[in-house]
């Protein structure tokens, strides 16, 4: 019993390591910053990507295409800088959840569309690999959310 507890404690210590947390934050942050740049530069092309999924009503397509990239950029930068870490990871996880659902729905509908994940500069078709990537990013976010030192401070 004591040994198991010790194991859990050392695991928690490892996951809460400053360096490991920084790596997770940096990976998620940089992915979101890179993903946002091209979409911000060419909103019309991103709007076309959004529209192609056929999920968002036409009158909301441009609003999503305008705001989502900036949200990605802001949260990505905050994660890298270590500011508002937990709230940024919540927003990113929520966005990733929407991306995963949208891609799965499009795959089941048999749509052969561009993912739009990284904007026009990196054209990539939708596929299960994209879903796996997004799930991996969600897991990193879970790590960031639960092991962020802010959480410990509040618990204590």
């Amino acid at each position: 019993m004591i040994r198991r507890r010790k194991k859990t404690d050392s695991m928690r210590k490892f996951l809460s390591s400053r360096y490991l947390l920084f790596v997770s934050r940096f990976i998620v942050g940089i992915v979101f910053v890179v993903a946002s740049v091209d979409k911000i530069a060419f909103p019309e092309l991103f709007a076309v990507n959004v529209q192609a999924y056929g999920i968002v009503p036409l009158y909301l397509v441009n609003i999503v295409a305008l705001i989502l990239p900036w949200l990605e950029l802001t949260t990505g930068l905050f994660l890298i800088a270590g500011v508002y870490v937990r709230s940024s990871s919540v927003i990113i996880s929520f966005a990733l959840g929407i991306f995963i659902v949208s891609i799965i729905v499009a795959l089941f509908r048999g749509l052969k569309i561009d993912c739009g994940c990284f904007g026009h500069a990196h054209n990539t078709p939708i596929g299960w690999w994209r879903v796996c990537e997004d799930i991996l990013l969600v897991l990193l976010n879970v790590h960031i959310y639960y092991c962020d030192p802010q959480e410990d401070k509040i618990r204590k």
């Binding site: 909103p43 092309l45 076309v48 397509v61 937990r86």
Partner: protein, 215 residues
């Protein structure tokens, strides 16, 4: 714990508001900015009679009726308004005329290849430079829709009543429509979009050109 979630919610509201504000301000001042509400694109098919001379397309207009083209007396005419319909070729455009936004004329692969074989029209590839260099329709000029402002010089010497045909990747691609909007502002009168675009051209196994454009 409750205090913690309250703090997270307020931070989320702050981040979202900040992003919305910056997005709207940037969009307002950016030259690549888009409208907040997306407009529905209204496409309309183009009848052959609008592109080709009536004699070539074997269309008989009301005025051109002769004794051999007129319906024999013993045959009941079932479409007496046909001639009237031919005079209003672009009837879909007529339908749309009271609604806001432009109506785009879409041509088919057959119409495009016939126009090209007759060497008519100014063909524009609205995709980016890289895509154009990988392959394009022979004779197409590359004017990337997203950098169209750099290509003002191309339009200066082109008469405004020239038949202009624009294409991009496929039906879902907006580049051709974006460029068509710009050309409408330049008062070009005959703008047509090849709707199926480059994908349609490749699917139909039509000849591809990879030569770079001469400046």
């Amino acid at each position: 714990m409750r205090r913690n979630s309250k703090q997270i919610v307020s931070e989320i509201i702050l981040i979202v508001s900040l992003s919305v504000m910056v997005a709207l301000i940037y969009n307002h001042f950016s030259d690549k900015g888009i409208s907040i509400i997306r407009k529905e694109i209204k496409n309309t098919g183009v009848p052959d009679s609008a592109l080709f001379a009536p004699a070539e397309s074997k269309i008989v207009t009301a005025n051109a009726r002769t004794s051999d083209t007129a319906a024999p007396e013993n045959i009941k005419v079932i479409a007496p308004l046909h001639a009237q319909a031919l005079r209003n070729q672009d009837s879909m455009a007529q339908l749309y005329k009271n609604k806001k936004g432009p109506v785009y004329n879409i041509i088919t692969l057959q119409q495009l290849s016939r126009l090209l074989s007759e060497r008519r029209g100014y063909l524009i590839d609205a995709r980016n430079k890289d895509d154009y260099q990988k392959g394009h329709i022979k004779g197409a000029h590359n004017i990337p829709a997203l950098e169209a402002e750099k290509y003002f010089g191309h339009f200066v010497s082109v008469p405004r009543d020239t038949l202009v045909i624009i294409y991009c990747n496929n039906d879902e691609c907006h580049l051709a429509h974006t460029l068509a909007d710009l050309l409408m502002q330049f008062e070009f009168k005959k703008i047509y979009i090849y709707g199926r675009g480059w994908d349609g051209w490749i699917e139909a196994k039509m000849p591809v050109d990879t030569a770079a454009e001469k400046d």
